[in-house]
Structures are given as structure tokens and as C-alpha cells.
């Protein structure tokens, strides 16, 4: 420890001179080589750049830069999470919205600059870890370093004197010490057993550095695993109304995000049917009434079209695994069932309409498109309220998330819905630009208000709409990520390495024995730590204890004798 402290204390001066030295040297070399040997200069520069990049300071700098670089991603909306919010944000902030986009601040984690930081960091990491691994491998194979002349200079030092009549000569004492240290996990090398001053060097704690290397290498492993997930994984979403079935083919998805190397043949055609969905809401806690306390979806799954169905329960925090993917319950809402008859009196639409949750207590928006209606196509826009409540001023809201007073309030339109043009449309939006209104609050016919079972005729004989009842739907996320298991394994490896690195201590011990003029066998020992080691003194005490026990030396608190003995031993050298 004291060694490293000394080094640190010296460092500012040493550092600056050496830094100047290298840059100065580099410049000189470059100046020379530009005249004669450009290739060498280039190489020199590369080497210089490499030394800089793999230095501890650069690693630290890049780490801090990574921390700073990650922050904007929490300040500005991010495209991968929320593309529509980003679009809105740019619209709302015309002055700097575009500028932020140019700086890739809506795609921070895939931006050029963020990638540059972490790629540099990992290059630095590899450049750091590789030579250290090689050096450590060599250190593990080589013998502990030679015994220093003055053990007393070491941060921990002690002596023992074995009485002359104990019958333990210097050579036996050193072998005993070697045995004891080996038992304690030290690698031991005994020197000069039969000389006047036999000694030993011992070292332990190689796993500290191994831990450090495992930790850093595992971080690379985590990064690679994440990359694998991005390349070979895929994810998608599907809304399922009670009774509907999702089949794992591309057309089964409402939205699908493939990884870079995705192949549609890798989708296994399993299926999942939503039998029933139940949401439980808090009815008792004051101030919290209406808060959801449980969502449970009962589903029937089939591994493949011919397999028997299997009943399973899908819950939040409890996904269902199927065909190498996992299915998650990520949302839910109400799907009013409606029947629309057209002007000719035929049923032009019948079924559930998924209502998109917009506000408190499942205040949801509804869009119904009826392209099959004849002679005119029909469209409806409005709201679904599970527990409708109208204030005195006429605004309606939902008073509860449960179906106490379900109500559909709609405006209706007719005309060309534009669905035949082949332009993809959002099912949750109706473009009313080219449509003629039929029902609206400000028209003579008024808006449509429906309770279950009720039917309303549209004006001008355009047809009718019936509110048949309410079903529930769930939003399901489907994910396949082949990298995540590896990320987990590397993550745990990293922690294991970290703990090893922080809590194993790399220590060296030297012991020297000799025979005093008065016949006693003198033993001195010293300890040195590499790196932080606040338990070195504890180890020294422990060693003293086992030595004393082995040789039956009574512990003498009298340091005076120890001092005298030890100085005589060292003078003997």
C-alpha cells in the first residue's frame, strides 16, 4: 500500500513530464519522418494514438463521457420508444425541433456520436485487457519475486525468535513457514534452504486480476449479446378481442419490428386464443378507487396448428412462452360490439371495435369504418365510456373503469372512405376531409348516443347502427430475443468478476530465517499488497499467530525484544 501511495504522491510531476516527453518525442519523430520516411511516422502516430486510447485516463474520460452522453435520451422523446411523440415534439418546437433532430437527439442510443463513445470505450477496453491478460498469465507462471534485502521496509513486518532448545534450525523453520503459507493459499518459492539465511517468497490473490479481466471481458460479452438480439430478434404487437386468435405469422401481427437479419421462415405458426379477460379495480381505498389491482387473461395456446389446445393464464409480469417467443400482456381496453346496416338494409358491418383508451377510467375513442355499406360507405367517430356521466355543462366523462353505464357517443359520415386507394390507413383514425357529415351535435339530426341493445337510424335513410354489447380486448407484445440469455450469463459473470476483483487481495509475503549468535532461530517476515488492501495488517497478524502456534513461541507483547532481534537479523545480512 505504502508503495502505491508513494507512487501516487509522486505522480503529478512524473505524469506531466512523461506526457510532455512522449508528445515532444512524437512531434520530433513526425517532423523527421515527414521528410524521409512517412510510413514510420504514421506508424509512430498510430502507436501513440493507441497508447493514448488504452490509457487509464482515456478510459475514465470515455466512461464519464458515456454517462453524459446517455442523459439527453431521458430529456427528449426517443423515436424507438415513441415515434409519434417525437413528430409532435418537432411540430410543437419549431425553433429547435429540427436542430435537435439533426443532432440525432431523438435517436440518442443509435446516434453516431453515442455509438462512437461506446465503440471507442470498448476498443480501449480490449486494448487494455489483452496486454493485461498476457502479463498476468506470465506472472502466474513465474516464481514470486526475489526476497528484498530489508523486509523491515515493507508495510507489514514482524519477527519471531525461536529458543535455541526448541530444535528448529533455520532450514526447518523456512520449510515449516513454506508449508503454512501453502496451506493458506500462497504460491511459495523457497530459496537458499541450506544457506545461512534461507528465505522464501510467496504470493497469493492471482484471482483478483483474473476477476478484473473476467469483469471487463464480460462487459464486451453483454454488448455482443445485445447486438445479437438486435440482429436476430424480432418483436411485434397484436390486439386480441375476447374470442379472437393470434397466429404467429406475419399477417397475424398488427405491428411487426424485425431484427436486421430476421427471416420470416423463423416464425413458428403457434396460436393463442383469448378466451376471457378480467380486470379488477380497487373499490375500497379512499382516493384510489378505480385503480387497477389485477389483470388476468385466460388463453388457449397451440404449439402448432395440429397440436392440442392448452389453457394458460397470461398476466402482467407473467408472460407466456411459446415457440421461442414470449407473449406479454401490455394493455387492455373495451371493444364495443356494433352492427351497422347500410342504406339497402343489409348488414354491412358486425363485430367488435377496439376502443383506444384516451383518458381516465377507460375514456376511449372509437372509429368505425364501413366500406361495405351501399350505396354509400359509412364512417363513425366518437367515444366509448364504460360508466358515462354527463356534467351540467354537457361534457361527458367516465366515472368508473367498470361497465356500470356503458355508452357510445358517435358522429357519423358518409362518402368515400378512401380505403380502396391502397394507401395504408390508421384504423384508429378516420379522415373526414372528403366525407359528408350525417350525425353531429351541431347538426339537426344531432349526435348518436347508444346504450347496449339500442339502435339508431341514420338520417337520410343511410342505414342504422346497433350497439350490441361490450367485449374486452388485450394488447399483446410478442418478443423473440436470442441474445438475452447470453446477456444474462455475461451479466452474472461480470458481477462475479467484480466481486473477485474487489475482495480478493493480491499479497506477497517474504520470510527469512537465520541463526542468532546466541543459538536462537530468528524468523522475520514482511508483507506487501498490490493495490488497495485494507486487510493487510489483519493478514500479518494472522500469519504471526499461525507461525507462533506452529513453533510454540509464546506471544511476547514486548516489542523491545522484537526490535532488538530484528535489527540484529537485518544487520546480519
Amino acid at each position: 500500500m505504502s508503495e502505491s501511495v508513494k507512487a501516487k504522491k509522486k505522480s503529478p510531476a512524473a505524469e506531466s513530464t512523461s506526457a510532455e516527453g512522449t508528445t515532444g518525442e512524437g512531434k520530433l519523430k513526425r517532423a523527421k519522418s515527414e521528410a524521409a520516411l512517412p510510413a514510420l511516422g504514421f506508424k509512430g502516430m498510430l502507436r501513440w494514438a493507441w497508447t493514448q486510447l488504452t490509457s487509464m485516463r482515456t478510459a475514465l474520460f470515455l466512461l464519464l463521457l458515456l454517462a453524459v452522453g446517455a442523459v439527453p435520451g431521458s430529456l427528449f422523446p426517443q423515436r424507438p420508444a415513441n415515434p409519434s411523440v417525437v413528430t409532435q415534439y418537432i411540430k410543437d418546437n419549431p425553433s429547435y425541433g429540427q436542430l435537435l433532430d439533426a443532432l440525432q437527439l431523438y435517436d440518442v442510443y443509435s446516434s453516431a456520436w453515442f455509438s462512437a463513445i461506446y465503440i471507442l470505450l470498448f476498443i480501449s477496453l480490449i486494448g487494455c485487457v489483452t496486454p493485461r491478460a498476457i502479463a498476468h498469465y506470465k506472472a502466474m507462471k513465474s516464481q514470486p519475486p526475489r526476497t528484498p534485502k530489508r523486509l523491515s521496509r515493507l508495510p507489514e513486518y514482524g519477527t519471531l525468535a525461536l529458543p535455541a532448545d526448541a530444535g528448529i534450525p533455520a532450514s526447518k523453520a523456512i520449510n515449516d513457514a513454506a508449508g503454512l503459507l501453502k496451506k493458506r493459499g500462497y504460491r511459495v518459492d523457497v530459496r537458499d534452504v541450506d544457506g545461512a539465511l534461507p528465505s522464501l517468497g510467496a504470493e497469493r490473490g492471482f484471482l483478483k486480476e483474473v476477476g478484473n479481466l473476467v469483469f471487463h471481458t464480460s462487459l464486451i460479452g453483454v454488448l455482443v449479446s445485445v447486438a445479437i438480439g438486435g440482429l436476430y430478434g424480432y418483436s411485434g404487437q397484436r390486439i386480441l378481442v375476447e374470442g379472437e386468435t393470434f397466429v404467429n405469422t406475419l399477417v397475424g401481427y398488427d405491428q411487426f419490428t424485425p431484427g436486421t437479419n430476421f427471416q420470416s421462415s423463423s416464425l413458428q405458426p403457434y396460436s393463442m386464443q383469448l378466451d376471457k379477460f378480467e380486470a379488477t379495480f380497487d373499490r375500497e381505498s379512499p382516493g384510489k378507487a378505480g385503480q387497477p389491482i389485477d389483470y388476468t387473461a385466460e388463453v388457449t395456446t397451440k404449439e402448432n396448428p395440429d397440436a392440442p389446445g392448452k389453457k394458460e393464464v397470461l398476466k402482467v409480469n407473467d408472460p407466456v412462452s411459446l415457440g421461442g417467443t414470449s407473449l406479454y400482456l401490455t394493455g387492455n381496453g373495451y371493444a364495443p360490439m356494433v352492427t351497422v346496416r347500410d342504406g339497402d338494409g343489409n348488414v354491412a358491418f358486425q363485430g367488435p371495435v377496439t376502443a383506444k383508451v384516451q383518458g381516465d377510467n377507460y375514456y376511449s375513442s372509437v372509429v368505425i369504418k364501413v366500406p361495405d355499406a351501399k350505396p354509400e360507405q359509412l364512417g363513425f367517430v366518437g367515444f366509448f365510456l364504460p360508466t358515462a356521466f354527463v356534467t351540467e355543462t354537457g361534457t361527458s366523462f367516465s366515472a368508473s373503469p367498470e361497465l356500470f353505464n356503458p355508452q357510445l357517443s358517435l358522429n357519423s359520415f358518409y362518402g368515400d372512405l378512401g380505403l380502396d386507394k391502397g394507401v395504408p390507413q390508421n384504423v384508429f383514425e378516420l379522415d373526414i376531409k372528403d366525407l359528408k357529415p350525417l350525425n353531429a351535435r351541431d347538426l339537426a339530426a344531432g349526435g348518436i348516443t347508444l346504450t347496449p341493445g339500442a339502435t339508431v337510424d341514420l338520417p337520410e335513410g343511410k342505414g342504422s347502427i346497433t350497439f350490441d354489447g361490450v367485449k374486452k380486448y388485450i394488447g399483446v407484445d410478442i418478443h423473440h430475443n436470442p441474445g438475452q440469455l447470453y446477456a444474462l450469463i455475461f451479466g452474472f459473470l461480470a458481477v462475479a468478476g467484480l466481486v473477485m476483483s474487489l475482495y480478493i487481495n493480491r499479497r506477497r509475503v517474504w520470510v527469512r530465517t537465520g541463526t542468532h549468535a546466541d543459538g536462537r532461530t530468528m524468523v522475520e517476515y514482511g508483507l506487501l499488497a498490490r493495490g488497495e488492501d485494507h486487510r493487510l495488517a489483519g493478514e500479518a497478524a494472522a500469519l504471526r499467530e499461525i507461525f507462533a502456534r506452529e513453533w510454540n513461541v509464546p506471544e511476547t507483547p514486548d516489542t523491545g525484544t522484537t526490535k532488538a532481534v530484528s535489527s540484529s537479523t537485518s544487520k546480519d545480512q
Binding site: A14, R57, K315, N317, L488, L498, S566
Partner: protein
């Protein structure tokens, strides 16, 4: 679903109030201790100065004998735990080993006794809250704050068993009071059920480790601030300038503070690594992806990287000491941001966890 017991919930709030009150008295006692004991130490110093001539001789003798190869005067025991203690400045700071002993400080004893009383009441508050809600008491901001403050004080008291860190009392108890007050004033929430997204055993694992690590970071934050003050003061003392931070007499030298806070930060860093990983595992279970750069995830990552930077700094020349202390402080600032701004202002998947 467990049954909500509102009566217990009300008892819990009463306990929290009582705890905050007890802490306030403890805080005053700790502050009194800082003021009084440093005055006393100053008197001791002045007396010692009279006989300093002798001491200097002794020190010189020690050095000489060291050169001759004798163990240093204190022997192994004197070096125990802190081989670097040889670097302490000449007086003006408390013992670097932060062991009990020496002067008896009555106000500090009163302060610790009150803190123990406070933490017992506080613990009762946390436990009644847990039973009132029929689940772990860390499901919303109010509960994070009240339970977090409890853990911070408890960790402080546990460390006190082995090390004399009573000089940190004003900081730790002050922070606990702020947390309790903020919980009751800004984030008050009655006992209630958990939303489905939080109903997972990962809530127990992930959040408890996060709270524990944060408590440790709280200790090192306080120590790093004191380290900065002390190293400023030590420079002043070394240059024979006036000592304008007299109360810092009670505080050990900057290097000892740095070493101990490094050890605590190392434990907390491992804890935070687990927080991050378990958070990722939970995110995979709940949302289907283990990492999505949600604001909460971003800041958890930022905190992790800053403390990784701190650990690196300790091994980088020119970055130990003051700079490392600043990194530890910045790291804690990020912990605070992660808890306050990210939960309330930034919009993310975690937003439901609070209010």
C-alpha cells in the same frame, strides 16, 4: 388481494411523524456535539502544542529507527486497518482509523441514543405500513422515501457499531429528516394496493437492493463532502493559515475519509450493479425487453457508469483524492435526480410508480 388496513396505515403515519421529531432532537444533539467537541479538541491541541517539542523529537526518533529496519513505533497494532495512516497531517484532525476511544463526548452519546430511539419508532412506522398494505412497503414514492430514510439511518447505526462515524450524524440525520418531511408533504399517499405492473417478486428484490445501495451512497456522499472540506482545511493548516472550519476537528483527515468511502462505495457499486441487472430482468418479464432506454433505465445506467468512473479514478494517477470525491458527489446527485426528477417530470414507463 391482501386486505387494506387503514387504521394501521394511520398508526404508521403517526410513527413517521414521531420519528421525524425524535430525529430533529438527535440532529440538534449531533450539531451540538460538533460544536462542543471541536472546542474541546482545540483546547487539547493547544495543550499538546506546549509539549510539541518533545513530540517532534519522538517522531524523528521513530523515523531513524525505521531507517534502521525496526518496525514502526506503533507496531502492527498501530497500523491495523490503515497502513496509510502514516500520512496524516500533524494534528488538527481526528484519528484516521475512526475507532472509538479517547475523549468521551456526552452530546454525541445523547445524539446516538436519540437516533436509536428514532429508528425504532421509524421501524415501527415502516412495519405498520407494510402490514397495513399487506405487502412490502416500497410501492410508491412516499414509501420509497420513508423506507429509504429508515434504511439510511439503520445502515448508519450499524456502521457506527464498528467505526466512530458520529461526525456524520448531522448529515445523515439531516437527510433522513428531509426525506421524511418530503414524503409527508409532497408525496403523501394512503395505504393501497399495488398496480398490476408492480405485482412481482422482483419488486421485493430489485427495489430493496436499490434502497440499500442508495443508503450506502448517502453515507459516502456525506463523507466525500467532508473530505473536500477537510482537504481544503488541511491545506490551510499546512500553510499556517487561520482555521476557519473549526468544527472539522472532529472529522478524520481527508485521506482516511477517502479510503473508507471507497470501501463503502465498492459495496454500494456491487449493489447497484445488481439493481441494474435485476431491473433488466424484471423489465424483460414485465415489458418483454430487458433494456429500452426508458428514463429510469437511463439514469440507473448513468449512476452505474459514474460510480464505475469513480472506481477507475481511484486507480488513475492524478484522479484520486479531491477529484474522486467530486465523482462520488456527482454520482449521488444522479441518484437524487433519478429519484426525484425522473419519477415526477420525465415521462416513461416507470411513471406510474409514484404519485
Amino acid at each position: 388481494m391482501p386486505v387494506i388496513n387503514e387504521t394501521l396505515g394511520q398508526y404508521s403515519e403517526l410513527f413517521m411523524l414521531l420519528a421525524a421529531g425524535t430525529y430533529t432532537v438527535a440532529f440538534i444533539a449531533f450539531a451540538w456535539d460538533l460544536a462542543k467537541s471541536s472546542k474541546m479538541l482545540r483546547a487539547v491541541d493547544l495543550k499538546a502544542a506546549a509539549s510539541s517539542a518533545n513530540e517532534k523529537v519522538a517522531v524523528a526518533a521513530g523515523r531513524v529507527s525505521d531507517g534502521l529496519g525496526a518496525p514502526d513505533a506503533g507496531g502492527p497494532a498501530g497500523r491495523a486497518e490503515r497502513p496509510t495512516s502514516g500520512l496524516t497531517v500533524e494534528g488538527g484532525t481526528a484519528a484516521g482509523d475512526m475507532k472509538y476511544g479517547g475523549v468521551r463526548r456526552a452530546p454525541a452519546r445523547v445524539a446516538v441514543a436519540l437516533t436509536v430511539l428514532g429508528v425504532l419508532i421509524h421501524g415501527a412506522g415502516v412495519v405498520t405500513r407494510a402490514f397495513g398494505a399487506g405487502r412490502v412497503p416500497w410501492g410508491n414514492m412516499y414509501e420509497f422515501l420513508t423506507t429509504g430514510a429508515f434504511v439510511a439511518v439503520a445502515v448508519f447505526l450499524i456502521v457506527l457499531i464498528r467505526r466512530d462515524l458520529r461526525f456524520l450524524g448531522t448529515f445523515v440525520i439531516g437527510l433522513a429528516i428531509i426525506m421524511l418531511v418530503a414524503a409527508s408533504a409532497a408525496f403523501w399517499t394512503p395505504v393501497g394496493h399495488l398496480v398490476p405492473a408492480l405485482q412481482s417478486y422482483w419488486l421485493i428484490i430489485h427495489v430493496s437492493i436499490a434502497v440499500l445501495s442508495s443508503a450506502l451512497f448517502t453515507l459516502t456522499f456525506a463523507m466525500s463532502i467532508l473530505q473536500l472540506l477537510q482537504s481544503y482545511r488541511q491545506k490551510n493548516l499546512a500553510a499556517n493559515r487561520a482555521d476557519n472550519l473549526g468544527f472539522m476537528r472532529l472529522v478524520p483527515n481527508a485521506l482516511s475519509l477517502e479510503n473508507l468511502s471507497y470501501r463503502i462505495n465498492a459495496i454500494a457499486f456491487i449493489g447497484w450493479t445488481f439493481t441494474l441487472m435485476f431491473g433488466a430482468i424484471w423489465a424483460e418479464k414485465a415489458w418483454g425487453r430487458f433494456w429500452g432506454w426508458d428514463p429510469k433505465e437511463v439514469w440507473t445506467f448513468v449512476i452505474w457508469v459514474v460510480y464505475a468512473g469513480y472506481l477507475h479514478a481511484r486507480a488513475t494517477r492524478g484522479w484520486t483524492g479531491t477529484r474522486a470525491a467530486w465523482l462520488s458527489i456527482v454520482g449521488y446527485a444522479c441518484v437524487i435526480i433519478n429519484f426525484t426528477l425522473v419519477n415526477t417530470v420525465f415521462n416513461g414507463l416507470h411513471s406510474y410508480s409514484g404519485l
